[in-house]
């Protein structure tokens, strides 16, 4: 793994270095108290202050993870925009295409939202679990829970909706693998999709909730509901 990572770094160190430099440039003045309004959009889009202002040690770690997720989202665009030899006009249009491709996955997702309403306890359990975990992860990744550090939630929403429409991708595979390990059996793709659908929804709703300081508890409550529904579902199946 180290060898693969070092090989990857050899090929991709330039965009990574650029992004790191941007983070440092935004973070350093901020921790010394200089946070001009003009930088606010940049703080938001780069996640530069996630875990830097508030959140303690856990916030710091999760903030770093959030920045990594944001970097992955922008990596291709950074490469095209700053390191491509194409004319500037083409670079911009390529960036636009990449962004459009990323955003286009959201549209089919909204069409599936109706399908989340179900009478099946197993489906509802998966949905509650997906929503709950998203609330908790969203709060964790923003570092301090502040709305202005929550761009990572938007990124994850876009990524998950995209993967949902393709039924493949990193988060899709990881979730599948995790469910397989936890449940010791192959997860049903439909249940997995329901789980990820509400998971994506959770990322959108979490930063908008009014009682964000209680978000862990709300997330946990959803997990408990999921567990209860799972038990009910098992009982129903036995009958």
């Amino acid at each position: 793994m180290t060898a693969i990572l070092s090989r990857y770094m050899k090929e991709h160190w330039r965009p990574l270095l650029l992004m790191t430099a941007i983070w440092i440039l935004l973070e350093l003045p901020a921790v010394y108290g200089y946070q001009p309004v003009f930088f606010y959009p940049l703080y938001y889009l780069t996640g530069a202050l996630s875990g830097i202002t508030g959140g303690g040690f856990l916030g710091m770690i999760c903030g770093a993870a959030a920045r990594a997720i944001i970097y992955v989202f922008f990596e291709q665009m950074i490469i095209v925009l700053f390191f491509s030899k194409l004319p500037m006009k083409e670079r911009l249009s390529s960036c636009g295409t990449i962004l459009k491709d990323k955003l286009i996955g959201i549209i089919p997702y909204f069409k599936t939202l109706k399908g989340l309403i179900s009478n099946d306890y197993t489906v509802l359990s998966a949905e509650a679990a997906g929503f709950g975990t998203a609330l908790i992860l969203s709060r964790l990744l923003s570092g301090s829970g502040l709305f202005r550090h929550s761009f990572v939630s938007v990124v994850l929403f876009i990524q998950i909706t995209r993967e949902l429409s393709a039924r493949s991708g990193l988060i899709f595979s990881l979730t599948k693998m995790l469910v397989r390990k936890l449940g010791r059996k192959e997860p049903e793709t439909d249940i997995l999709s329901k789980y990820l659908s509400t998971h994506a929804l959770g990322y959108v709703i979490a930063p908008l909730l009014p009682f964000r300081q209680y978000i862990y508890w709300i997330g946990l409550a959803f997990m408990v509901i999921a567990e209860v529904l799972k038990v009910l579902s098992a009982k129903k199946t036995k009958q």
Binding site: L5, H12, V31, I52, I61, A166
Partner: protein, 564 residues
């Protein structure tokens, strides 16, 4: 005409971009949230007409809200048990804040040990190097403020009482090394450290109010967001006089050596984080009616030097040294009353205070980003392929997998991917994204096994690595992978290559060969994640027949491996 059209087009584009950046994103980013409005108002020269102090926000061992204010006196205070008082310019108050052991969460009980501000007090040959604090008291007398907040001074007595778990009487003038201290250490003596000082309250901007407030206590202001920034006061201690007492022995300390205290003001000042004084509303003097010299803090460059110096010195007295570099935002106008809440929290600025920490965090984020990007590089390609967003083949290049050699067999369930190089040659475009698809099969059973097979390409240019990993499966199987190089620009397929892989399950396998059963062991080969087949000799395995006559093979040195 064309050029005019282009200029107009560009102008509209720039206008939209600017609007997006300055309006849409800040709203999304919470940029419209007012962060500590009083802080910036006071910085800009708008001062409170009155300040209401409320004492809440800590919890006792039962989780109920409890008070840290034990005594209060001053104009308009009815009883010493009051916890709320309203101060006007010129009025002076005295109060005492205590954090006895019954309170579970007041910040300053652990201040001595964990606050990092003060680790040891040593003087005249004797020192307290560890104190298990039982209670702390902060007595503030003669505290108030003038109309323009130019005098926020107070007399402060700070007392730490506890059990000295590391006290040493070395007779040495300066604090000795830890080794000498440990040799002379006396333990479990009652110890008291008292600091008497002149103090001045200074403004500080808090980032996350919830960290200073008791989680079980509702924040009083209904519309206030506990996660939003807010304003508070610190007490900066100056001209400190220290007293340490161990047992019955009381000692005035003339030259205390205080280690690791946070000091922003040069070596003379001890910066003590008092319970926060949080401004949660504002009723500020309009700038025009300020009882000052009319200095406009928002436009300091227009003032003459003398006036600037005069007012800056006042600002310096007012400002927390930590915040002198603070934001120079425009002031917001306030309408409500200024309310000040005494909380249990410290006023420690969140976030690392030095460059190294920031660099460290940035490097950590960068490494995490590299890892995440590496893992996701292929997945994104797979997602786009599955969603059918690729275009027709341009076929402008040649794709080589594993330098033309076949891919080694994959060992199922070993947890390590087989990694082989893939190269694109002769393509017109340098910006390439990779895509690997496991081709489905009409056979349902095989498709089930294919779901365990994951393949991804890591790399964004003409050279990448194809990583293949398979989870545990019950049988060996073959699969076909389609590796494609796509143009970043328009997603057109530049080159495609179909390649076969064989997945092997680890353990003992048998093969019939001319009525003779050959026994093989499948284990991990030299290439990480690959399968190696070794033929076993008769003395290396044994055959066990069960009642139904089925033969099971097992290695002689190991447990049962497989059934045939």
């Amino acid at each position: 005409m064309d050029s005019m059209h282009m200029i107009r087009k560009r102008f509209v584009f720039l206008l939209f971009l600017t609007m997006f950046y300055t309006c849409v994103i800040p709203v999304c980013a919470g940029g419209m949230e007012v962060n500590g409005p009083e802080y910036f108002s006071i910085l800009s020269g708008k001062y409170p007409k009155e300040v209401t102090f409320t004492d809440t926000m800590t919890s006792d061992s039962n989780g109920k809200c409890a008070s840290v204010m034990t005594e209060l006196s001053g104009p308009g205070v009815g009883s010493p048990d009051d916890h709320v008082f309203t101060a006007h310019p010129g009025e002076r108050f005295s109060f005492k804040l205590a954090s006895p052991a019954k309170l579970t969460t007041p910040f300053f009980t652990t201040h001595f040990e964990e606050g990092g501000r003060m680790k040891a007090v040593h003087a005249d040959g004797k020192g307290i190097y560890e104190l298990q604090v039982i209670s702390q008291y902060l007595e503030v007398t003669d505290f108030g403020f003038d109309a323009d907040l130019s005098d926020t001074s107070a007399n402060v007595t700070l007392t730490f009482t506890g059990i000295g778990t590391k006290i040493a009487d070395t007779g040495l003038e300066k604090k000795p090394d830890d080794e000498i201290i440990n040799k002379n250490v006396e333990k479990n003596e009652r110890a008291v450290i008292t600091v008497t000082a002149k103090a001045r309250a200074s403004l500080v901007l808090l980032n996350d109010l919830s960290e200073y407030t008791c989680s079980s206590c509702q924040y009083e202001e209904k519309n206030a967001d506990p996660l939003a920034d807010s304003t508070a006061f610190d007490f900066v201690l100056e001209d400190t006089v220290w007293t340490i007492s161990v047992g019955e022995d009381t000692q005035n300390v003339s030259s205390a050596v205080i280690q690791e205290y946070e000091n922003y003001n040069g070596p003379s000042g001890l910066y003590y984080h008092t319970p926060a004084v949080v401004l949660v509303g504002s009723d500020l003097y309009p700038r025009d009616s300020l009882p000052t010299d009319g200095f406009d803090y928002t436009e300091p460059m227009q003032q003459n030097d003398e006036q600037l110096e005069k007012n800056n010195s006042r600002l310096n007295r007012l400002l927390n040294p930590r915040n002198q570099e603070a934001e120079k935002k425009k002031p917001s106008s306030g309408t409500g009353k200024t309310k000040v809440t005494l909380t249990k929290g410290s006023l420690v600025r969140k976030g690392p205070g030095n460059i190294l920490s920031v660099l460290g965090i940035a490097v950590l984020a960068a490494l995490t980003a590299a890892g995440a990007a590496l893992i996701s590089s292929a997945s994104s390609g797979a997602a786009s392929a599955a969603s059918g967003s690729t275009k027709e083949t341009k076929a402008s290049g040649t794709l080589t997998v594993n330098d033309g050699d076949s891919i080694p067999d994959i060992l199922a369930g070993c947890g390590r991917p087989v990694s082989v190089p893939v190269t694109l040659e002769g393509a017109d475009e340098a910006m390439v994204t990779w895509l690997v698809t496991v081709l489905p099969d009409p056979d349902k059973e095989l498709n089930k096994r294919l779901e365990n097979l994951m393949a991804e390409c890591a790399g964004g240019n003409a050279e990448a690595r194809l990583n293949i990993l398979c989870g545990p499966v019950s049988e060996d199987f073959h699969a076909t992978l389609r590796v494609s190089a796509l143009s970043v620009k328009d997603k057109a397929v530049l080159a495609t290559k179909l390649t076969n892989v064989k997945v092997r399950t680890p353990g003992i396998h048998t093969k019939k060969d001319n009525d003779k059963t050959k026994v093989f062991l499948i284990s991990e080969g030299a290439v990480p994640g690959s399968a190696k087949e070794t033929e076993l000799k008769e003395h290396e395995y044994e055959v066990i027949h069960d009642e139904s006559g089925t033969a099971a093979y097992q290695l002689k040195s190991a447990g049962k491996e497989t059934l045939s």
